[in-house]
């Protein structure tokens, strides 16, 4: 009984469930952050085209900041590919 329990405890699992949980969590986090940044960029760009003056400038500036965030994520993705 004890040896069976020991065997079960030391047996290598068929699948890396912990790794999968990490993939699941990180994927959702990255996808949501990217989607939020892109959606805000799109929304702010649309707002900028229909606004004038300081409001237009503010929307455009924010859109550029969000777009820079997206670019940073894309570059990080390429770094992950290259470092594999």
């Amino acid at each position: 009984m004890r040896s069976t329990a020991l065997l079960l405890a030391t047996a290598k699992p068929l699948f890396d469930w912990v790794g999968l949980l990490k993939v699941f969590g990180i994927s959702i986090a990255f996808a949501l952050v990217t989607v939020v940044l892109v959606s805000c960029t799109v929304r702010l760009s649309a707002a900028a085209t229909s606004s004038v003056g300081a409001k237009r400038f503010g929307a455009l500036a924010l859109a550029i900041v969000f777009a820079a965030g997206v670019a940073a994520i894309v570059i990080y993705g390429i770094v992950i590919m290259m470092s594999k």
């Binding site: 290598k12 699992p13 068929l14 699948f15 890396d16 790794g19 999968l20 990490k22 993939v23 699941f24 990180i26 994927s27 959702i28 990255f30 996808a31 949501l32 990217t34 989607v35 939020v36 892109v38 959606s39 805000c40 960029t41 799109v42 929304r43 760009s45 649309a46 707002a47 085209t49 229909s50 997206v70 894309v74 993705g77 390429i78 992950i80 590919m81 290259m82 470092s83 594999k84």
Partner: protein, 383 residues
């Protein structure tokens, strides 16, 4: 001399596999961009081809050894590799004919496992590896991607629901091209390397390279070119299934699907969890359908899942048969005859596909319209 001929045939077959891998997997990255008209079909496959080629050069740390952890690597011979490749190519071409996306890597593993069973018996197979690296991921990958994509599309639509549809649509179209490009690049990096690994191992096994040799430049160029050419030819039948068969897509959904696919693929690469690009991308498309409350054609998705589950045994049966026949004929003649037989089988599928052609001109036809090759093919088979 005989060994050199076999080696040359293995290299040619490996490049053929790389080509089928390219045209089979074009859909993963570009089906949604084509379906939402973010890109014209020819432009989409052209862009994907270039990015696959670039991806092949992006990382050269060829760790992707064939069927690592699944078969006893010491017992793998050139003939086993050849038979495995033939099994994978025939499975890829058959699933392309039916418009069914399936994993080329799983097909290759299946082919090698089948050939190894004939070559060295079941003790040469690490069955835990088969379950852990192929069967369990085949079930889990689409679920993970679907949940991720459902959340992503919900968030995207909530943020932009007050915006003018025309303006936001244009913005998402641009973003979708970016996310699809990232998936193409990841595909080139991952899948071209697998073929590089196969050819390098064959060269090492034949003593043309030292055991610690790096990948020769001609192998990198040949593999990158083969996968890019395959991608450019475009597996239009599969693009039609993913883009039009699973659910209705517009630009925010296409963007959310591709972004989720890219996130899951990059995370799985980073943590070393083997998830198939095909299964992730198909799951993402289903996920955006669920996330927006659109109709999902579960029958089409069910057929895909069934194909994923039988990929390994089907390619395995072909791999086993090819290995047995090649050995029965013997020497390089056996390998050459089997290569010829494979070309004939592929040609038959190609000729059959001309009856209901799907190409850049009709790939965006509505699902169930006159150019509906997949349903028609399945119904014909059932009848």
């Amino acid at each position: 001399m005989t060994n050199n001929i076999v080696l040359a045939l293995v290299v040619v077959t490996a490049l053929g596999f790389d080509f089928t891998n390219g045209f089979h997997d074009t859909a993963n990255a570009m089906a949604t961009s084509i379906a939402t008209k973010a890109l014209k079909p020819k432009v989409a496959v052209g862009l994907s081809a270039v990015l696959n080629l670039v991806g092949a050069f992006l990382s050269l740390s060829v760790a992707a050894t064939i069927a690592k952890g699944i078969v006893n690597a010491d017992l793998v011979t050139l003939n086993v590799v050849f038979a495995g490749l033939v099994g994978a190519i025939i499975w890829n071409v058959a699933t392309w004919y039916f418009g069914t996306p399936s994993s080329s890597s799983h097909a290759l593993i299946g082919g090698v496992v089948g050939a190894m069973l004939v070559h060295a018996g079941s003790s040469s197979i690490k069955w835990s590896g088969v379950f852990g690296k192929v069967l369990i991921p085949a079930v889990i990958a689409p679920v993970v991607a679907a949940i991720c994509a459902a959340l992503a599309v919900f968030v995207a639509l909530q943020i932009t629901k007050r915006g003018e549809e025309k303006t936001t649509g244009a913005g998402f179209k641009f973003a979708q091209i970016g996310s699809a490009s990232l998936v193409s690049l990841a595909h080139g990096t991952n899948d071209a390397q697998k073929t590089m690994g196969i050819i390098t191992l064959a060269l090492i096994a034949n003593h043309n390279l030292g055991a610690s040799a790096s990948v020769p430049l001609w192998v990198v160029i040949a593999c990158g070119t083969a996968i890019a050419l395959g991608t450019y030819f475009g597996g239009w039948r599969i693009i039609h299934t993913i883009g039009k068969g699973l659910t209705e897509l517009n630009t925010p959904q296409g963007f959310a699907a591709e972004t989720s696919s890219a996130a899951v693929l990059l995370a799985s690469t980073h943590f070393g969890v083997p998830l198939s690009t095909t299964q992730v991308c198909s799951g993402s498309v289903v996920g955006v359908g669920i996330g927006t409350g659109n109709k999902v054609r579960w029958r089409v998705f069910g057929e895909m899942v069934a194909a994923w589950l039988i990929t390994l045994p089907s390619a395995g049966i072909v791999g086993a048969l090819v290995f047995w026949l090649a050995n029965a004929i013997g020497g390089s003649a056996g390998v050459a005859v089997m290569l010829g037989a494979m070309v004939v089988v592929c040609a038959i599928f190609y000729v059959l596909s001309r009856r209901t052609p799907v190409n850049a001109d009709n790939v965006n036809n509505e699902w169930g319209s006159d150019h509906e090759p997949i349903e028609a093919s399945f119904e014909a088979t059932a009848a």
